[in-house]
């Protein structure tokens, strides 16, 4: 990379120049009692923050328009009727943040597709975290060539990995998995259901000990070969054969000189144990009256709600869930693709909050967004390209909502918070500060947080206070 030279972090920062995030030994009561869950919603592709949190004061709106007239013009024509004029300043849903005075007369709104999320914000159950993203240490435009910044910026796979695991692709464990590792004691049993993915295998939930349990639709389903009565034929119902079949499917007795063969046998054994026990609890799923929207994220959050309703049967005190929505990589035709995603996200979040209220877990479940990067402020005609910092949402009863945390930088692209080209935001809050705030609420103590989040000590605030 020509723009960001790799520099030795310690020499650049200077001895003692680092801000101690949390002094060792600071008393900070970590609570690991009761039940708590974190739900991560990954907005894959890189969400365009500037088309999500929009300015509602005229000077700011005009400044934004100057950077991306093509996109904003497209919203006035050539989009589906329900989305037409949705970026007109008068049609944005104003955010009456309690701390709006901090923004010097600037005001903000959400697009009308996010009316449900707007309602959550206004009633204090949602907060906005402004200009956050992967950082090693605080950095400005002038410093970006001489201070350490995350590797492989702007690359999808590397930055989603960095957001979720603090390292580029190749990182093996994520901060979700590390949080579960730290709190294994809070989970009775083997923690088999502490890290649950609704969106396949991912680095976020992988830990040193923590393993991912996957759910999708009504599955996992039982094995046909074991459960179909006629599989072994009509002539025999040999219990010996059934026992041997169960051994077969759990890879029993397979040991090899080959590492991969052992890995495959081990994973079959875990599947057999964990899926069987999970299936045994399913009859206890709470039947929610809440209707979830028929979208991929609606279906995922419905599954999350159902699984949370099994918390006692599964014997788990702390859980982290991973969901994902694809499609945010809006290089072109953004006005026709982003609004639907915003509506899906917003409506699903409302349904999920309603479902949590039904089982009295509103205050014990916190949902947050992740995304590999924000996008360029300057458009490419009808879309936007890869950026760095972006804005995010945190939702839940425990959230100190109706507030905006961090910066929503003005659209003066000469500011120190933008890179020199195309209005790419340099994050002013780190993913690790975001994660630490969530982790402290989840029950990790300062030492555990510093271990899970190795760069946290480079930042002033270890707890942003949004939950």
């Amino acid at each position: 990379m020509t723009q960001f030279s790799r520099r030795n972090f310690l020499s650049a920062a200077g001895a003692g120049g680092l801000l101690a995030a949390i002094a060792p030994g600071t008393a900070w009561a970590a609570d690991t009692s009761g039940y708590k869950a974190l739900v991560c919603i990954s907005l894959l592709g890189g969400m365009d923050h500037a088309d999500t949190i929009l300015p509602t004061d005229q000077p700011s709106y005009d400044a934004l328009y100057d950077t991306r007239s093509g996109i904003l013009d497209n919203y006035r024509s050539g989009v589906a009727p329900e989305d037409r004029l949705s970026r007109d300043i008068d049609n944005l849903l104003p955010l009456s943040a309690d701390n709006i005075a901090d923004y010097g007369g600037r005001t903000f709104g959400l697009p009308p597709q996010m009316s449900a999320l707007h309602e959550l914000f206004e009633r204090g159950d949602a907060a906005i975290i402004g200009n956050m993203g992967p950082l090693v240490q605080p950095v400005t435009r002038d410093e970006v060539n001489r201070r350490t910044v995350p590797d492989r910026l702007f690359s999808h796979n590397d930055q989603i990995s960095t957001f979720l695991s603090l390292g580029p692709e190749g990182a093996r464990i994520g901060w979700g998995g590390r949080f579960v590792d730290a709190l294994t004691a809070a989970n009775s049993g083997d923690g088999a259901y502490s890290a649950i993915s609704l969106a396949g295998f991912n680095v976020f939930l992988s830990g040193n000990q923590t393993r991912i349990f996957q759910i999708n639709g009504g599955g996992p389903y039982p094995l046909t070969a074991l459960n179909r009565r006629s599989f072994l034929g009509s002539g025999s119902d040999s219990s010996k054969a059934r026992r041997l079949m169960a051994d077969h499917f759990s890879g029993a007795g397979v040991t090899s000189d080959n590492f991969y063969i052992n890995d495959i046998a081990d994973s079959q054994a875990r599947a057999a144990t964990n899926i069987t026990r999970y299936r045994e609890t399913l009859s206890s799923i709470y039947s929610f009256t809440t209707q979830f929207p028929r979208s991929p994220i609606g279906a995922q959050l419905k599954n999350v709600a159902e699984t949370i309703s099994l918390r006692n049967q599964l014997g788990v005190g702390r859980q982290i869930f991973y969901c994902a929505i694809a499609g945010f990589d809006t290089h072109n035709d953004q006005a026709n693709s982003l609004p639907a995603l915003q509506r899906q996200l917003s409506d699903a979040l409302m349904a999920f909050q309603n479902a949590m209220a039904e089982i009295n877990e509103t205050n014990n479940v916190t949902t947050f967004t992740a995304s590999e990067f924000g996008r360029t402020t300057i458009g490419n005609g009808d879309g936007t390209d890869h950026g760095w910092g972006g804005h995010h949402f945190v939702v839940g009863g425990a959230v100190n909502g109706k507030r905006i945390y961090g910066d929503i930088p003005p659209y003066d692209l000469g500011l120190q918070t933008y890179l020199a080209s195309r209005g790419v935001l340099i994050p002013t809050l780190s993913v690790e500060q975001y994660a630490a705030t969530l982790g402290a609420w989840f029950g990790l103590n300062p030492a555990e947080l510093n271990e899970a989040l190795p760069n946290l000590r480079n930042f002033d605030e270890a707890n942003l206070g949004f939950v």
């Binding site: 040193n208 996992p220 077969h248």
Partner: protein, 504 residues
């Protein structure tokens, strides 16, 4: 089985030459002939199971996992555009990688998927810049990767011991100007005036929309005013000339055919074949025309590598490859000559991406341009991971997906998969050889062991299979039925064993 019998006695080199000579099974013309509602995914399954040019299909599939397009990111006539894309991959599968890059660049499918269709030159007044999507992924994924590589696939290091990035943001911005001005074939730069068949033939350059500015990247400056088609040729030539291309592509191709974690020596041998465009097999047969990027030479180097004929190597702790779920299904279908090959009647094959219910993998429909799994993936909490071995397929082959795979396969083995029309016959396996062996549990098991795993079934597994089969009595009154039960059970057990999931 016929294939295997025909191959006995042939040298491996001759077998390869024979595969290289087989005519390509076409996708686009076949799909057009099937009618406008025909599915490109059905055609995919029909072809990979039924077509004679098996190695070409495998190579096309491997290339589709490096130069990825998903139909879900193609807006105009995605079925036909994907068939056109498949033809490009298969046309060049035994050709040259550089030619492949050029045809892909002009494909309706890729240009929509990576959004450079109708990519306009920048506008100084509005500050608008060209879309950078294709420029970035062309370097990161299709050619040179993120860091400079040695021929053995390891990273080159600078004097301070740090890896050397291949490109930076300025290179992406410079290259993005090259991929401007392309649109569907027709008189104007608009879809509304495109030719009727524009959505499945090469896209074209519209000079007025192509950047007139200079284009600087990777040390090359294409002078201001150079026309679009010339700029694309110059850009592809310059990037393809980079020394990292050979090891970057070669390692991934090895992973698709023979080893999840290729040894450095092996990568170097294959990358050398790619770089020099030539490979001389142990029996003296020469492959390739001497041009960099020759894929016959590359593939011969992968498949005829001495390690692949070395039993001691095969027994080593890291040899072999996690077999992709899709290949496990097609192997079953081909081993038992499932017929008629008619995927349109198979609802279960309509989209096999669901990891809990189906295979967790649907070719031509990867979740993103980063494919179903990444070449550098190392699985946490595993023996292979503890030994730093890459295991791409473990991203879709793991605790969470085993039951879905097993159920998907069991349904096909016993003929209970979802059908569009129950009265129409499709994918019915021929178990006659197995039924003839069914009375002897050991003989049946040994036969399936050889047929499906090359004799590598773990002894504890084969002993257990025999024991289970012997618990299924063959009674006089129901002997045909009981034999079929034994065959169903035996096949289900073998294809859900670790030795079938992992190919050595």
């Amino acid at each position: 089985m016929e294939d295997i019998n025909a191959a006995v006695g042939m040298s491996a080199s001759n077998l390869l030459l024979e595969e290289f000579a087989k005519p390509r099974t076409p996708y686009l013309s076949t799909l057009l002939a099937r009618g406008k509602n025909a599915s490109h995914l059905d055609l995919y399954w029909d072809t990979v199971v039924g077509a004679d040019d098996q190695l070409r299909q495998r190579m096309g599939s491997a290339l589709s996992q490096i130069i990825v397009v998903s139909d879900r990111g193609v807006n105009f006539f995605p079925k036909l555009a994907m068939a056109h894309y498949a033809d490009i991959l298969h046309t060049h599968a035994f050709g040259n990688y550089r030619d492949l890059l050029k045809d892909i660049t002009y494909s309706p499918a890729m240009s929509q998927y990576l959004t450079y269709m109708y990519n306009r030159k920048g506008n100084m007044e509005t500050g608008s810049e060209p879309d950078e999507n294709y420029a970035r992924e062309f370097m990161q994924l299709f050619t040179i990767g993120l860091f400079e590589l040695n021929m053995d696939g390891s990273q080159r290091l600078d004097v301070e011991g740090n890896p050397i990035p291949t490109y930076g943001s300025d290179d992406v911005a410079g290259l993005s100007r090259v991929f401007t001005g392309l649109g569907f074939s027709g008189p104007n730069f608009y879809t509304s005036t495109a030719d009727d068949d524009a959505f499945y033939k090469p896209i074209i350059m519209f000079p007025a929309q192509h950047s007139e500015r200079d284009k600087t990247f990777l040390g090359l400056t294409i002078p201001a005013g150079t026309d679009g088609d010339t700029s694309i040729d110059m850009a592809i030539d310059h990037i393809f000339d980079q020394p990292s291309v050979a090891p970057f592509i070669s390692r991934q191709l090895i992973q698709r055919f023979t080893m999840s974690h290729p040894t450095p020596d092996y990568v170097e041998r294959v990358a050398t074949a790619f770089e020099t465009g030539r490979f001389v097999a142990p029996d003296g047969v020469t492959f390739g025309d001497g041009r960099k990027g020759d894929l016959q030479a590359t593939l011969a180097a992968i498949l005829l590598d001495p390690t692949q004929f070395d039993e001691a190597f095969a027994e080593s702790e890291s040899a072999g490859k996690i077999r992709e779920p899709v290949l496990r299904f097609t192997q079953w279908a081909r081993a038992f000559e499932a017929a008629p090959v008619l995927a349109e009647n198979e609802q279960t094959l309509s989209d096999t991406n669901n990891p809990i219910l189906r295979l967790g993998q649907q070719p031509l429909r990867a979740p993103s341009v980063f494919n179903f799994y990444r070449p550098g993936f190392i699985a946490p909490g595993t023996e292979s991971g503890a030994n730093d071995l890459t295991a791409p397929e473990f991203q879709i082959v793991n605790d969470g997906t085993f039951y879905g795979y097993a159920n998907f396969m069991t349904d096909f083995v016993i003929g209970r998969q979802l059908k569009a029309d129950l009265d129409v016959e499709s994918f019915i396996p021929d178990y006659s050889t197995e039924l003839a062996l069914a009375d002897d549990a050991e003989a049946l098991t040994n036969h399936l062991n050889m047929l499906l795993t090359g004799g590598r079934l773990d002894e504890v597994v084969s002993d257990r299979v025999i024991e289970i089969l012997n618990e299924i009595p063959i009674l006089e009154a129901s002997s045909d039925e009981d034999r079929l039960t034994r065959v169903h059970v035996a096949i289900t057990l073998v294809i859900t064993s670790p030795a079938y999931t992992f190919q050595r």
